[in-house]
Each structure stands twice: as C-alpha cells, then as structure tokens.
C-alpha cells in the first residue's frame, strides 16, 4: 500500500487560511490503513485545524470533514462533487494521486495536500511501516530471493553486499537490516545460492520514474475505437 504521514498542522493552516470554506477529504483506502488520512484522522485534523485557525485569528474559516472510499478514481469522486461545490478549497488527506485526482476533477476549487506521501510499503509491526518497493517498473525480485535490493539496500547494489555490512546490519543505520544479508540468508535457505555465482545484469532504468509520468495501457480494456485517450 501507499504509506503517508500527516503534515504539520501549522503548515496546513497556513495553506488554507486565506479561504472561507474548506472541506477536508479523507480517503478510505491505503491512507486509512496506514492511519494517516482515514475518517478518524480527518476528524482529528479537522478539530486541530479549527483550533489552530481560531488561535491564529482566522476563526471565520469554516472547516468541514468528509471521507470517500477512494480518491484516486473518478467514479468514487462523483459523490463528492455536490459537496465540493459548497466550498472554495479542498484539503485532501489522500496520497499525491488522490490530491491530483481531486485537482483535475475540480478545476475551479483550490486543492491542498494534508499528507506527505512517503512510499509503497507494508506494516512492519503495529504502528511501524517500511518501504518495500520503489516502483522501478522492471521488477527483478525473482533474481534476488524476493528481497528488493533497490529499495532495501542503501546503495541499491545489485551485486552485494558491500563492506559496510556488519552483523547483518547496514552501516548507514544500525537499525537497518543489510538487504544483501537478507538475500543471502533466504537464498541459502531456499538452496539457490548458486544463482549468485554470476554477476547480476545492469538494471534497465528506462522504465523508472525519470522522463515524465509513466502510464500503463491495456488496449483490450480501452473503449473500442477511442483508444487510450478516451
């Protein structure tokens, strides 16, 4: 899932204080699970913002709350449209995709981010999320015993480990597991260590995030005759 965390209340307050009516919009998907932008967090932020605005001399700004099932899909934003019409700004507690989906859908309304979107990750333990995928567009987890060296090795080494691996930890942070130690241990347990006898190929970064937004097109799913631009 996409993991995010809340922006400082003061930062959000300063973004919205010039408006009269602001709608906080939560998202019921990833950010609800990572406890950053679900219904409860929207309630907490709403309360915090109303107080912060009042203390800053902007008590007249109306801050209301609502949460939709998913912000990154137009079909789910539909139900929001009549409400947004009553406000002059929206503060989205969705990930960056959610914020932009709202901005695209409501061209006449200011849209602000309430969260800092962090990474694609998993729940490591209660209250702790860690990054697991860099979204490089060219997955090679099959070569590395299911552990991603791009995301989890500080140097993104494809032929590790480096000299900074100490007792299974990374020299960058003693709390951090050495990804290559993990890869080695798992490969050994799986009996596939011989795969690592040869040098791993250079990674093809052409599928990566540099060079503008990427897109995935499924022609068979596109509306007939209209193509991907429908």
């Amino acid at each position: 899932m996409i993991v995010a965390d809340r922006k400082n209340v003061r930062e959000i307050r300063d973004m919205i204080k010039g408006h009269k009516r602001v709608l906080l919009v939560g998202c019921g998907t990833c950010v609800t699970v990572c406890l950053a932008g679900g219904e409860r967090e929207v309630g907490i932020l709403g309360s915090a913002l109303r107080m912060a605005l009042k203390l800053d001399g902007h008590g007249g700004v109306v801050v209301d709350e609502c949460t939709i099932e998913r912000q990154c899909e137009d079909a789910f934003i539909d139900i929001l449209a009549p409400r947004v019409a009553e406000y002059d700004a929206v503060c989205s507690l969705g990930c960056g995709a959610g914020v932009q989906a709202l901005a695209e859908r409501f061209p006449g309304t200011a849209v602000y981010p309430g969260l800092n979107t962090q990474f694609i990750g998993i729940l490591e333990s209660q209250g702790v999320w860690t990054e697991k995928c860099a979204g490089c567009g060219n997955c090679r987890l099959g070569e590395f015993a299911g552990i991603c060296p791009i995301t989890r090795c500080a140097k993104r080494l494809f032929n590790g480990p480096c000299g900074g691996s100490r007792d299974g930890r990374c020299e960058v942070d003693p709390e951090l597991d050495c990804a290559w130690q993990l890869i080695y241990d798992r490969a050994k347990a799986l009996g596939i260590l011989d795969q690592f006898a040869s040098i791993a190929e250079v990674h093809d970064w052409s599928t990566g995030p540099d060079g503008g937004p990427r897109r995935v097109v499924r022609e068979d799913q596109c509306i007939a005759g209209l193509g991907p631009n429908a």
Partner: protein, 186 residues
Amino acid sequence: MRGVRSRKQQNYKAATAGRALRENNMMDNQPIILAFCCHYCAYAAADLAGAMRLQYPDNVRILRLPCTGKVEVDYILAAFERGVDGVIVAGCLEGGCHFLEGNLRARKRVERAKQLLEEIGLKPERLEMYNLSSAEGARFAEIVTEMSGRLARLGPSPLRPDKTTVERRIDEMTQQAEAAVAGETE
C-alpha cells in the same frame, strides 16, 4: 454501581444543573477541567474522595470510561475545541490495568495529543495523564488541585467561548430540559 438514570431523571438533573449554573453565576473565570476517569481506579478514587469528605476544586467535570484505553486523540481534541481549559486522563497504576494495557496505550495517545496541541498553538501542559489506584481518594483530590492550580497559572483557554455564548447555550439547554420535565409530568 449506580443504576442507569431514566430519561425523566436525566431531564430533571439537566434542568436543575442549568438553573443552578445561572442562579449562582458559576460561569466565572475558574478553569474548567474535563477528567476522563477509568471506572476501575480514578472514578472509584473520586467517589472515595467524596465519601472521605475531601476538599478539592469543584471545577472538574468527571467523565467515566470503562478504561482509559477508550480515550482517543479526537476525544481530547473535541474537549479543547469546545473550550475546556484542561484535560486530565486518569487511569490505573502501570501494570494494574483491568484490561492489561489500556492505561499504557492511553499514555501514548496523550503524548500524541500533546504534540498536536503544540502544533495547534495550545500549551501541552493543559493536558496530563495520571495513574492512581481506586484506594487513592486523597491522590485524586491532589491531582485535581494540582491541575486546577496549573490552569489558573496558564490562564483561561484562548478557545473558551465568551460568557454570553455560554450563558445563551445554558439557557437554551435548561429551557429544553424544563420543557421536557413539564411534558413528562402532565
């Protein structure tokens, strides 16, 4: 344990409380404290303090919870948003929670709420978590006195509604309750 009050009793109590607040002019500048009290310790301690005839400031409003683990950050913020001057979360001694770790969770949530209060621009000292046992009536009185003193030093919450608004609201609520009581007696 006290039984559940009937609707009639609740209305009567609300009407009486409203009238008392207005007649005795109790909306003066004394700090208002909301205390989230665990049923198994602080609430019983407050009861004991009363039975022991201990003196402590009467500006504390006690809200009984099954455990302080029920306290959420939004409860605390909602209280401050409505203008209370301070909030106490009072749970069992660490290691003594009836639900094992509710009080430990509450402490972490209180820390989180304090951090939010700081960002909002309210003094985090307005919020405090205490641990006590049900046998500590005197400690309960001491906690309320201590918090009341601290809030008097900090001054009223800048979010407190002005006196006219409070009085109007109390009048509305009192009238509603009185009308309900009159309706029931007919």
